[in-house]
C-alpha cells in the first residue's frame, strides 16, 4: 500500500477498470443534524478538566477580540476582524493539534493562532500595519494569516502531502503531521477550495478542513452563497468524509475536530468539518453590519453564544463557581492590559526592511532602490522638517 491508497470499493458494475474502483458514498455523507454535546447526555461524560480548560480559553479569547476591536477603533490597529461568537471553533481548532501539526488560518483566526503560542501583538502585527506576518511560521507551525480566500487550503494539502512523503522515508522522524485549514462559508465558493479538496482526496493527504459557517461572507448570507443542503455535503464530491457540528458547542467542536484530526493522521483520509456558528460582531471594525442583518437575528444567536452555553453547563454541573469565574476573568483582564501596554510600546518598522526579504539575495535593481531610499532618509534626517499636510506626507 502506497501512501496514496485509500479505502475503495469495487468499480461501477459493468465498467472496465479505467473508471474505478470507486468509493462508497454513504460513509462520506454528514450527519443529518449538527453534532451537539451541551444539553445532551453526552455532556455528562466529557472530562471536567477539558470543559474548564475550554471555558477559560473562551473567556480569554472573547476578551482578546474585545480588546483588539477597541484598539482598532482607537486607530492602533488598521482594522480588526473579530471572531466573537466563533471562539469555540477557534479554540478547539488549536487544541486538537499537536505541536508538530500545522495550522492554516485566515485573517479571522487570530484566537487559533494565539492558542498556538504566538504572542498577542505578534498575532496582530498584520492588523497593526507593522509587518505582513508577525510570527515565525516554522516555529509555530502556523502559516501566515491568509487574506486571499481559500488559497491557504491548497497550501495545507501540499504541506500535509509533503509530510507524508517525508514520513514514508523516515517513519520515526516525527512526520505524522496533520494540517488543519480554516476557512469561512464564503471561502468555500472559491475555486481554490475545490482544487484543495480534489487534491486532498486524490492524495489521501492528512488534512482537515474546518469551515466556520458563520452565515455570512461580509454581507452575503449563506443562502446566496450556496444552495447545498449543508456545506459538509460538499465532501462526498471529493471522496472525503463530511461532518457537521454545532460550532457554538465547544465540547462538540472539540470532539468532532479531534476525531477528524485522528482520522486524517491514521491515514484514513481527509475530513471536511462544517461548524455552524455566527459572528456576533460586524465583519471587521470597519464594517456596518446593520446594513445587512437584523438585530433580531443577532439577538437570536446571542442566546446561543458559545460562552453562555458552556458557562451554563459548567454552572449547572457544579464545575464552575463565582471564584473560578473571577479567576478566569482576571486572567482575561491581564491579557487585555498586556495588549494595551504592548501597543503603547509599539515601534515603527525600519524602512530598510522593505528590501531585505524580497529575494534570497537582493538584485542590483533592489540595491539601487535601497540606496536611493537610504539617501532620501538621510536627507530628511539632516534637513529640518518642513510642515507638510498629511496628504503630502503620505505621497
Amino acid at each position: 500500500m502506497t501512501i496514496l491508497d485509500a479505502n475503495t470499493t469495487p468499480g461501477l458494475a459493468g465498467q472496465p477498470s479505467s473508471h474505478g474502483p470507486r468509493r462508497d458514498a454513504a460513509p462520506l455523507l454528514p450527519e443529518r443534524e449538527p453534532v451537539r454535546v451541551l444539553g445532551t447526555e453526552a455532556a455528562g461524560t466529557v472530562d471536567p478538566d477539558l470543559l474548564r480548560d475550554l471555558h477559560r480559553r473562551l473567556v480569554l479569547g472573547r476578551r482578546f477580540n474585545q480588546q483588539a476591536t477597541t484598539l482598532a477603533r482607537q486607530g492602533s490597529l488598521a482594522v480588526y476582524p473579530s471572531s466573537t461568537g466563533q471562539e469555540a471553533c477557534q479554540i478547539a481548532a488549536a487544541m486538537v493539534l499537536r505541536e508538530t501539526d500545522w495550522l492554516f488560518p485566515t485573517y479571522r483566526d487570530t484566537l487559533a493562532v494565539m492558542a498556538r503560542g504566538v504572542a498577542p501583538m505578534d498575532v496582530l502585527a498584520l492588523m497593526r500595519g507593522h509587518t505582513h506576518c508577525g510570527y515565525d511560521p516554522r516555529r509555530y507551525r502556523t502559516a501566515p494569516l491568509s487574506t486571499p480566500l481559500a488559497t491557504q487550503a491548497c497550501h495545507a494539502v501540499g504541506l500535509a502531502h509533503a509530510a507524508r512523503l517525508r514520513a514514508a522515508g523516515d517513519p520515526g522522524g516525527g512526520h505524522d503531521v496533520v494540517a488543519l485549514a480554516l476557512i469561512g462559508d464564503g471561502g468555500t465558493s472559491e475555486g481554490d477550495f475545490h482544487e484543495a479538496l480534489t487534491f486532498a482526496g486524490v492524495l489521501n493527504a492528512p488534512v482537515v478542513f474546518l469551515v466556520q459557517n458563520n452565515g455570512y461572507a461580509i454581507s452575503v448570507p449563506l443562502t446566496r452563497q450556496s444552495a447545498a443542503p449543508t456545506l459538509a455535503h460538499k465532501a462526498v464530491g471529493y471522496g472525503i468524509t463530511g461532518r457537521l457540528v454545532d460550532g457554538n458547542d465547544a465540547p462538540a467542536v472539540h470532539a468532532v475536530l479531534g476525531a477528524a484530526v485522528e482520522h486524517a493522521r491514521s491515514g484514513r483520509g481527509p475530513v471536511l468539518v462544517e461548524a455552524i456558528t455566527y459572528r456576533l460582531d460586524a465583519h471587521t471594525s470597519a464594517d456596518d453590519a446593520t446594513r445587512y442583518r437584523t438585530s433580531e437575528e443577532v439577538e437570536a444567536w446571542r442566546a446561543r453564544d458559545p460562552l453562555t452555553l458552556l458557562e451554563r453547563h459548567l454552572r449547572g454541573a457544579g464545575l464552575l463557581d463565582d471564584a473560578g469565574l473571577a479567576a478566569v476573568t482576571a486572567a482575561a483582564e491581564e491579557l487585555a492590559a498586556s495588549m494595551r501596554a504592548a501597543v503603547a510600546r509599539a515601534d515603527t518598522p525600519d524602512p530598510r526592511s522593505l528590501f531585505s526579504h524580497v529575494y534570497a539575495e537582493p538584485t542590483s535593481q533592489l540595491r539601487e532602490q535601497a540606496a536611493a531610499l537610504a539617501a532620501r532618509l538621510a536627507d530628511e534626517a539632516s534637513t529640518p522638517a518642513t510642515p507638510a499636510t498629511p496628504a503630502e506626507a503620505q505621497a
Binding site: 488598521a78 482594522v79 485573517y107 498584520l126 492588523m127 497593526r128 500595519g129 507593522h130 509587518t131 505582513h132 487574506t147 486571499p148 480566500l149 464564503g186 471561502g187 465558493s189 472559491e190 475555486g191 481554490d192 461572507a217 461580509i218 454581507s219 452575503v220 446566496r224 452563497q225 450556496s226 456596518d288 446594513r291 445587512y292 515603527t348 518598522p349 524602512p351 526592511s353 522593505l354 528590501f355 524580497v358 538584485t363 535593481q365 533592489l366 532602490q369 531610499l373 532620501r376 496628504a391 503630502e392 506626507a393 503620505q394 505621497a395
Partner: protein, 327 residues
C-alpha cells in the same frame, strides 16, 4: 448626490452606475457585497434598493465565477458591470479575463463582442493590509483586446465610467482607492471619451506623465516646482489602452523633458511602455532620457511603511532635477 463639500469620487461613480441602470435595461451589476451593503466602498450604495437585487446582484464569493458569469450574460446581449472587491482579488479571474474577456470578439471574428465593464479598486495609500493595495494596471494593459482606463478626477470618475459601460469593448475600469473620498465642487454629468489624455496643467520646462492616484501628487509637485521657478506640465493619461500618443507626444515635445509617475512597481510597469514609446517617437526632441518615478520593485509594504513605497513630491522633484538642466 453632492453636498456643500462637493461630490466625491464614490458619489460620482455611484451616479454613473445609477444613470446607466436607468437608461439601459441591459445594464446589470454583479459582484461581492454590492447589494445590501452597497459595496465595501459604497460605490453601489442604494442601487439594489432602486433597481432590485437582480440588477445589482450579490454573487457567491468566486471571482472567476463572477467574470465568467458576466461573459455568459454578455453573450446573451446584456451589458454586465462587474465589481472586483480589491485589486489582488481580481487575480483569481485572470484566466477568464485574459483568455475570454480579452479574446472573445477577436476569436469570433466580431460576432460575439463582450461589452463587459470590470471595475477594480486599485492602488495603495489607504492603510490597507497586504493584498489590498496592488496596482495591477500593467497586467491588463499588456493584454490585447482590453481597454484600460482610470479616472483621476471626480468628473472623469463619472464620465469614464459612463463611457466604459457604453463601450462595446471590454473595459477594465481601475478606480484609485486613494481618491475615492476626494471631492469636486460641480456634479459631473458629461461622458468622457476613452482614449484621450488631457493636459491638467500647462508647463514649459518639463512634462509629468501620470494617471489615476498619482495625478494629485504630480500636481502638488508641479506647484512646488513652480515656487522654485520651474514650470512643469502635467498630463493625465486617463486611458492606458488605447493610448493617446498624440497628446502625450505633443506635451513632451513642447518641453523636451519628461518624467513618468505611477505607483505600481516600476519594473515592466506601465511607465516602461510610456517611456519607451515617448522616446521612440520624440527622441530628437528630448534633452534628457524620460525618467520614471514609480513604486518600488517589492511586494506592496505594510501600512506603516507604504509612504516609502509611493512616489511622493520629493521623488518627483528629484527626478526633474536629474533631467540635466545644464544642457
Amino acid at each position: 448626490m453632492s453636498g456643500a463639500a462637493g461630490t466625491t469620487m464614490v458619489q460620482a461613480l455611484n451616479t454613473a452606475l445609477r444613470d446607466a441602470l436607468r437608461e439601459d435595461p441591459d445594464v446589470h451589476l454583479l459582484g461581492e457585497d454590492i447589494g445590501a451593503l452597497g459595496g465595501v466602498f459604497r460605490v453601489t450604495d442604494g442601487l439594489a434598493a432602486e433597481f432590485g437585487t437582480q440588477r445589482c446582484l450579490d454573487t457567491p464569493l468566486a471571482e472567476a465565477g463572477i467574470l465568467g458569469t458576466a461573459v455568459g450574460m454578455a453573450m446573451y446581449g446584456l451589458r454586465p458591470v462587474v465589481e472586483m472587491q480589491f485589486d489582488a482579488f481580481a487575480y483569481p479571474a485572470f484566466e477568464q479575463l485574459a483568455s475570454h474577456v480579452a479574446k472573445m470578439r477577436n476569436r469570433t471574428a466580431g460576432r460575439l463582442p463582450l461589452p463587459v465593464t470590470i471595475r477594480i479598486p486599485y492602488g495603495g495609500g489607504i492603510g490597507g493590509v497586504e493584498h489590498h493595495s496592488d496596482s495591477s494596471e500593467a497586467y491588463y494593459a499588456h493584454t490585447p483586446g482590453l481597454h484600460v482606463v482610470t479616472p483621476a478626477t471626480v468628473a472623469d470618475g463619472y464620465g469614464l465610467l459612463r463611457a466604459a459601460i457604453a463601450s462595446d469593448n471590454p473595459v477594465v475600469f481601475l478606480e484609485p482607492k486613494r481618491l475615492y473620498w476626494s471631492s469636486e465642487r460641480f456634479p459631473p454629468t458629461a461622458v468622457a471619451p476613452i482614449g484621450q489624455a488631457v493636459v491638467r496643467r500647462p508647463g514649459t520646462d518639463a512634462t509629468l506623465l501620470t494617471y489615476g492616484p498619482s495625478l494629485p501628487v504630480c500636481l502638488r509637485a508641479a506647484e512646488a516646482a513652480s515656487a522654485e521657478g520651474l514650470e512643469l506640465a502635467v498630463v493625465d493619461l486617463r486611458s492606458l489602452v488605447p493610448f493617446d500618443d498624440e497628446t502625450v507626444c505633443a506635451a513632451v515635445r513642447a518641453t523636451g523633458r519628461a518624467v513618468v509617475v505611477h505607483e505600481s512597481a516600476g519594473f515592466a510597469g506601465m511607465g516602461a511602455e510610456i517611456a519607451a514609446r515617448v522616446t521612440e517617437r520624440c527622441f530628437h526632441h528630448l534633452a534628457a532620457p524620460v525618467l520614471r518615478v514609480t513604486g518600488l520593485d517589492i511586494p506592496y509594504p505594510p501600512p506603516l511603511l507604504e509612504h516609502h513605497y509611493l512616489p511622493g513630491v520629493d521623488r518627483i522633484l528629484d527626478a526633474v532635477a536629474r533631467l540635466q538642466w545644464e544642457q
